[in-house]
């Protein structure tokens, strides 16, 4: 039995449980939603601007330049950088959780390891299977995103725009795989499924809401808006916590996404490649941790479905 067999079995299992369809459906739905929101709000703002110009003209006041003139075409999908870390990451946790929890609670794990197969091969197969599912879901979202840009902007995206969108999805794939691994590691650390799921959720809450609060003073709802007001971080508190800002992977993801999609006009210092380094380091650490834990894991112990 090889890692490929495990990977194929994992994809089939997620298809049978309709998790695969749910994942693809969710990401396609949020892409459509992001497109509609982007198109609708952009149109409204342009009309608001036109009305404001008219009103200011009646008072003899000069109108400021249209704040949307410099907005790039890919800004239409800027909400995706919010939805993917929310919905995508939670779905990724569930995919990672199910990948190992089912084998553990149904006893399939014990059966599998009665065959000539290494633990490393098992983990590699599981990672390949879950990675395929995440790639497929993001690929469907990418295709819908291209279609949304074509419809809303009235022309097919240029090669540069398609490349930037592909770069954003590659970054998102890395981000989601981190949460797949968090789901896997949580299952290996606990005996009850509920603890594994809630533990993963706790990590997601820390990464998504608590870390940005500590390192940048971003309130939870500020983290949910692609455009957030700058926060004063001159306090001594931030002089200390800002040192950990590169480790706040959700912030780095959001900023790198804005840089790749060119949805921000202001200079954001560090380039997107350097911003991905902490994410890659976390991903690598989680792979190593999962490898160590799976080698030590006792599949003879039954685990609870609860």
């Amino acid at each position: 039995m090889t890692a490929t067999t495990i990977a194929v079995q994992e994809v089939q299992s997620l298809c049978r449980r309709r998790v695969f369809a749910a994942f693809v459906g969710m990401l396609v739905a949020v892409t459509v939603l992001a497109g509609i929101i982007g198109w609708s709000s952009h149109n409204t703002i342009v009309r608001v601007y036109d009305e404001a110009v008219g009103l200011l003209a009646t008072e003899g006041r000069a109108a400021p330049p249209n704040p949307f003139l410099q907005v790039p075409p890919l800004a239409l999908l800027s909400n995706l950088a919010i939805y993917l870390p929310l919905i995508g990451a939670l779905m990724a946790i569930i995919v990672g959780h199910l990948a190992l929890a089912d084998d553990q609670s149904t006893g399939i794990g014990r059966l599998l390891f009665s065959r000539p197969m290494t633990r490393f091969g098992y983990l590699a197969g599981k990672l390949a299977g879950t990675a395929t599912v995440v790639v497929a879901a993001l690929g469907a979202s990418f295709a819908v995103g291209i279609a949304a840009l074509r419809i809303a902007n009235g022309y097919f995206p240029t090669a540069d725009q398609v490349g930037r969108l592909a770069g954003f999805y590659l970054l998102s794939w890395l981000y989601l795989m981190t949460f797949v691994l968090i789901g896997i590691v949580a299952v290996l650390l606990t005996r009850r499924r509920s603890l594994a799921l809630l533990g993963s959720l706790g990590v997601w809450l820390i990464v998504t809401f608590a870390m940005p609060q500590f390192t940048s003073g971003l309130r939870p709802t500020s983290s949910l808006n692609p455009i957030s007001d700058p926060v004063s971080t001159s306090q001594r508190f931030f002089q200390i916590t800002a040192q950990a800002r590169p480790l706040s992977v959700s912030e780095q993801y959001k900023t790198a996404s804005a840089q790749i999609l060119e949805t921000t006009s202001s200079s954001l210092g560090t380039g997107p490649v350097l911003r991905i380094v902490p994410l890659l380091a976390l991903l690598g650490a989680l792979v190593v941790l999962a490898g160590v834990l799976i080698n030590r894991h006792d599949y003879a112990e039954a685990s609870s479905d609860d």
């Binding site: 608001v48 007001d229 479905d305």
Partner: protein, 328 residues
């Protein structure tokens, strides 16, 4: 106290003790409280600095014999915004986890059939469980309010007044009702699922839609949220002109408002933000006037938990099947 009351109290105590023994629940509560403390500390330090600036201005004005000085623009309770957002987001997860663990604990330990073999009615079981869970929720909200009030006083040098205490009491009740609704959702979804983890996933899906997605869509569609600092500020357009312009976008605003209104979380947020002066327009209102302005949100906060509690009680009347593959 009747026998029935004694049984309910015993069940409530059991529920509370069992919940605080859950490490994962305590971990979630700690995440919420630490994030809350950080958000209030940051806001309180800013407040102290602004208060010092205002006091310097006040002293200078008095020294120059100026009788009429501008009142302080600072609003102490508005510093609780971050804390309220944490209650709304992470607190709701705690509520769902509490409900989920309440069902799975009895299922996996096998105590539910034992309890049912005793002269305990399903109504007493439901009441005991709910009282114990609400006790834990009340403890969490008390800790949040306690951290907030002490931090504002010690760090921000701003102590709450009598009126503030009354406003905080109403926010406290709203928070308990809001989190209680999520406890009911956790129980209902878990009790109806053969595999408990699937119930948890569905409940979390609902949480995601109600707490994060719907309000986010509403916020993102708000024209004023499209530009850092606000669109109308960027256009140098005042409030009267803003209202005039927005009046031409009635359908758009109606859709946006209704999307927000579909979110239970938004009703809690609107009520709590109004009571804590987060929104400028409410700063000068009396408590009675605030209730008049937010009566729709109050109705949601009262009716939501009541409707869910009916479904919660109903879930105790259904025969419970042991979870597939559960360990004794």
């Amino acid at each position: 106290m009747t026998d029935s009351h004694q049984r309910i109290v015993a069940l409530a105590r059991h529920e509370y003790r069992a919940a605080v023994r859950s490490r994962v629940l305590i971990a979630l509560l700690l995440i919420a409280l630490v994030a809350t403390a950080a958000s209030i500390y940051i806001a309180a330090v800013d407040y102290r600095s602004q208060l010092e600036d205002y006091n310097v201005y006040l002293q200078a004005a008095r020294a120059n014999g100026i009788q009429r000085v501008a009142p302080s623009p600072l609003r102490l309770l508005s510093l609780l915004r971050g804390a309220l957002e944490y209650v709304a987001i992470i607190g709701a997860v705690v509520g769902i986890a509490l409900g989920y663990l309440s069902v799975t604990r009895e299922r996996s330990s096998g105590t539910l059939p034992l309890l049912r073999s005793r002269p305990v009615t399903s109504g007493e079981l439901a009441a005991g469980g709910a009282i114990g869970a609400f006790g834990l929720i009340a403890t969490y909200v008390t800790a949040t309010v306690g951290i907030a009030v002490i931090s504002l006083g010690v760090v921000g040098h701003g102590w709450v007044t009598g009126t503030d205490v009354v406003k905080l009491a109403f926010v406290y009740l709203a928070a308990v009702a809001y989190l209680g609704a999520f406890f009911f959702i956790g129980v209902i979804f878990t009790a109806r699922s053969k595999v408990a983890a699937n119930g948890l996933i569905l409940a979390l899906g609902l949480w995601l839609a109600v707490v994060l997605i719907l309000p986010q869509i509403g916020d993102t569609l708000d024209p004023d949220n499209q530009v850092p600092g606000g669109l109308f500020a960027a256009l140098n357009v005042g409030k009267p002109h803003e209202n005039l312009i927005l009046s031409h976008f009635g359908t758009y605003e109606t859709i946006r408002t209704n999307l927000e209104a579909a979110s239970f979380e938004k009703h809690f947020e609107r009520f709590a933000f109004a009571m804590t002066d987060v929104k400028d327009k409410y700063a000068s209102f009396s408590i009675g006037h605030l209730f008049v302005k937010t009566y729709g949100d109050v109705i949601w906060l009262v009716l939501g938990p009541i409707v869910l509690s009916i479904a919660y009680v109903h879930s105790f009347r259904r025969p419970t099947s042991p979870t597939r593959g559960a360990n004794p």
